[in-house]
């Protein structure tokens, strides 16, 4: 049955990719979903279709330039306008972007070089706390005790240092990645995973407890307010003048910030994607694969495994550091709660669901898990609570919906979702939904005379 389904899908894709059909399908999808989202800003199915239409730009076989143009139009024009209409969508897309970058970073460590990292959120936390500390009043409050009130203390830095701190976040996280990498180089496999877990927990506990002797992190209360970069003068006005009739209401300052952070996140993600692509297809990327597959043989081929492993840690960490800075500024608040082991496993779930080592797969994984987390589950929760209030009864067993426990809130069951995804993927599809091309080849052609070796064995390093 699976085979027939597969062949049907293949036939469908062949049909869709003939001549000019893909252009029509893609544009049609975009127009349709845009109209739907524009018409009912609260409907989730239409938003899902909207996201799907974005992915169709990538899937369908079209002219490269047109593809690029459509994507840019979609990301820079459509999303901000529709997002201004309903800011929640912008939030969802922002989160997708953040988690895509995180998942791509983890993918370099786990997917490319095969080092399992359970403490990945630590690097994200370092980025977030870096700007959280310097971008708030905290440097002037080192001797103050923990308070939740905003004190009338001047901010430590001008808000526009934020842009500099994105780069600083990259550097600091990368250095931390090296520091973690150095001692653990001699450890492999499951022990490495446990060490990174311990490392992640230590960073979180430090964030939780460093409110004394000097108050660096403000303890469990977290740091707030954290400054956002200043909105360029006149941009908001211009934007309002241009699109106010389309949006339907004046775009407020905070909505404009949402758009700004979305655009910055987009920029970071695109950079990350380009870096990852280039790395994957480089000498370094192939060396990582070699280390992942067999470290001993890789060493015999003249690959300096230690140096490359450290590199993987540093590159992976740096993505998270940049996103951390961005996250701190967009939330204007950081607290240790954000950087738990649960979140680290969440990012790992994205990587594994999408396909370890596959760039498209990882982005799809991040999108699916994020949507599931903050949209589908939440709407399901809403549905349940409506059901509870409606007073309906399940007929045969005579169960009153109003008796359903208030604690049963699907949006709080992330762990179950992550857990079930991880187990099912490991058992049925360890390569992920969209396996990396190289992995797929390895799995299907392993029995033959290993064409991989003849293909690029000679130019490994």
């Amino acid at each position: 049955m699976l085979e027939s389904l597969k062949s049907k899908l293949r036939a469908l894709s062949a049909l869709l990719n003939q001549g000019r059909i893909p252009y029509a399908v893609c544009v049609g999808l975009i127009v349709l979903s845009t109209a739907l989202v524009y018409g009912n800003p609260r409907s989730i199915p239409s938003f899902l279709l909207f996201v799907f239409s974005a992915s169709s730009i990538y899937w369908l076989r079209m002219n490269r330039a047109i593809q690029l143009g459509l994507a840019v139009f979609f990301a820079v024009v459509l999303v901000p306008i529709l997002g201004a209409r309903n800011v929640f969508y912008l939030e969802v897309i922002f989160q997708i972007a953040v988690f895509s970058a995180l998942a791509l970073g983890l993918n370099i460590v786990v997917g490319f070089s095969g080092l399992l990292n359970f403490g990945y959120m630590a690097f994200y936390a370092v980025g977030a706390y870096l700007w959280g500390f310097f971008g708030s009043q905290q440097p002037n409050l080192l001797h103050a005790t923990v308070t939740t009130k905003a004190l009338h203390t001047p901010f430590f830095m001008a808000p526009d240092y934020f842009y500099l701190f994105i780069f600083l976040g990259v550097i600091v996280a990368a250095i931390l990645g090296l520091l973690l990498g150095l001692p653990v180089l001699r450890v492999r496999g499951d022990y490495l995973a446990i060490i990174t877990l311990a490392f992640g927990e230590i960073v979180r506990q430090l964030a939780n407890n460093l409110d004394k002797p000097l108050n660096f992190t403000n303890g469990p209360q977290g740091l707030t307010p954290i400054q956002r970069p200043t909105m360029p003068e006149g941009v908001l006005k211009l934007f309002n003048n241009l699109v106010q009739p389309l949006v339907g209401h004046r775009v407020t300052d905070s909505q404009a910030y949402n758009i700004l952070f979305y655009l910055i996140a987009l920029l970071v993600v695109v950079t990350v994607i380009i870096i990852t692509y280039r790395l994957d297809d480089s000498k370094v990327g192939r060396a990582w694969t070699a280390i992942r597959e067999d470290e001993l043989s890789a060493g015999a081929m003249g690959i300096n495994a230690n140096k490359l492993k450290l590199g993987a840690f540093a590159v992976g960490a740096s993505f998270a550091g940049a996103m951390g800075v961005l996250f701190a500024a967009s939330r204007t608040f950081v607290s240790p709660e954000t950087f738990t082991f649960l979140q680290s496993v969440g990012v790992l779930t994205m990587v594994i669901l999408g396909g370890i080592g596959s760039i498209t797969g990882v982005i799809v994984g991040a999108t699916v898990v994020t949507l599931l987390n903050i949209q589908v589950l939440q709407s399901f929760s809403l549905f349940l609570s409506q059901l509870r209030q409606s007073g309906a009864v399940i007929p045969i067993i005579n169960f009153h919906w109003s008796n359903l426990s208030n604690q049963l809130d699907p949006s709080k069951y992330q762990r179950l979702i992550f857990g079930v995804i991880l187990v099912l993927m490991m058992i049925y599809r360890p390569t992920g939904l969209l396996p990396a091309a190289r992995r797929k080849r390895e799995l299907t052609e392993r029995t033959e005379a290993d064409p991989e070796a003849t293909e690029n064995g000679a130019d490994h390093v």
């Binding site: 492999r188 499951d190 311990a198 604690q407 857990g419 490991m426």
Partner: protein, 387 residues
């Protein structure tokens, strides 16, 4: 009866008791000596002056005065860690993989035991039970917790680990993490659907909260809570039983054979799958019992209760040398002692700058340091460096 007694290998019962005694005394004495030396060195320091100003005692008197209580606490928690660590170490010995879900197996045991006690309490049985009876009912709760955990461990192995037995190392580990997370939420869901509550509190009954006076020195009283005694006695009994099972019975021989070489063991007519299931059953029920004991000691449990003790017990297993049963005992004891000492003295010695909240971090630091510098652990016999 005589024949039965004759076949019992007394050496295998006395040996682990002796080992445990040595570990407890050794770890306790070592920590105490270090602490006393530290106290002597710190005389006249800022911490000393602060203590004299606030409590009217010098740092040396303070340290020595608190030692007995700290040692008893360390021993109690050490035995709990040892019982959990055995679950990790047994599975690692047989399958060479970290059963990350063991911490949730522990939590399930704790919940089932506590729910049983709450149910008994609701029926009014616990209130009427005398001192002896309440021990009996606690024993019943312990058995229920063990059964639930053991069953769940076997189920988890069958569903999530067995299909992955021949995969690369990291695949079952990721699956185990998934199981661990899923189980946390399943416990939470069950609890919230049936009781509507997030955490459960063990009912007060019997004389578990009473204090037994051990010693009177001058005006000072050194005492131990009855529940600590229960925890220690129950843990020692289980550890001895486990040691006997593994070292002195035919089944134990089969377990050791499978741990050494699965294929050869299968050729010798050992049902490898059955033995692996049995390992999970035994390790799981030990974890479940530890969960009920933990609940007795700390009274309050929530669905995420397993994570911290789980990771600490894993640290203990690694510290002792994973795959090595004696090592798990030693590691648990050392970790329990260090944690208890850190919790008691860290705040005083650093004048409140780093308090007891750093005691969790101590376990993580030990874990990292041991893995980096001595991955085979203190008693290591198994080389566990695998790609």
């Amino acid at each position: 009866m005589r024949k039965f007694m004759g076949s019992v290998d007394l050496r295998q019962i006395l040996l682990p008791i002796g080992q445990m005694a040595i570990f407890v005394v050794g770890a306790g004495a070592l920590c105490s000596v270090i602490m006393v030396i530290l106290a002597l060195l710190c005389r006249g320091s800022g911490a000393d002056h602060l203590l004299q100003a606030t409590q009217g005692v010098g740092i040396f008197t303070y340290t020595v005065g608190n030692l007995p209580q700290v040692l008893i606490d360390g021993m109690t928690i050490g035995f709990v860690y040892a019982a959990i660590a055995l679950g990790y170490t047994m599975v690692y010995g047989v399958l060479q993989f970290i059963n990350f879900a063991h911490s949730e197996i522990f939590a399930i045991g704790a919940f089932c035991g506590v729910e049983a006690l709450i149910a008994l309490n609701g029926l009014g049985i616990l209130a009427k039970a005398g001192t002896i009876g309440s021990f009996g009912y606690f024993g019943l709760a312990l058995l229920i917790g063990m059964a639930a955990s053991g069953g769940m461990a076997v189920l988890v192995e069958r569903v999530a680990y067995r299909p992955l037995r021949n995969s690369p190392t990291l695949v079952p580990l990721i699956s185990a993490i998934g199981v661990s997370f899923a189980l946390q939420d399943i416990i939470r869901m069950t609890e919230s659907l049936t009781t509507g509550q997030f955490y459960r509190v063990i009912p007060t009954f019997g004389n578990f909260d009473a204090h037994l006076v051990l010693l009177r020195i001058g005006g000072r009283v050194i005492d131990i809570q009855v529940k600590s005694v229960v925890v220690i006695v129950a843990a020692v009994a289980m550890l001895v039983a486990l040691n006997y099972l593994v070292k002195a019975t035919k089944v134990g021989k089969a377990i050791r054979a499978v741990a050494q070489d699965k294929h050869t063991a299968a050729l010798m007519g050992i049902g490898v799958n059955a033995i692996i299931s049995l390992t999970f059953l035994v390790g799981g029920s030990l974890g479940g019992a530890a969960g009920v004991l933990y609940a007795l000691k700390f009274t309050r449990i929530d669905p995420f209760v397993g994570f911290m003790p789980g990771i600490k017990a894993f640290a203990a297993a690694v510290l002792g040398g994973i795959g090595n049963l004696t090592g798990a005992l030693l590691g648990g004891m050392v970790l329990g002692m260090i944690e208890s000492f850190a919790g008691a003295y860290l705040g005083t010695y650093t004048m409140g700058a780093f308090g007891a909240e750093y005691k969790d971090m101590v376990a993580f630091l030990i874990l990292i340091l041991v893995i980096i510098f001595r991955p085979n652990g203190l008693l290591g016999e198994q080389v566990s460096q695998k790609a």
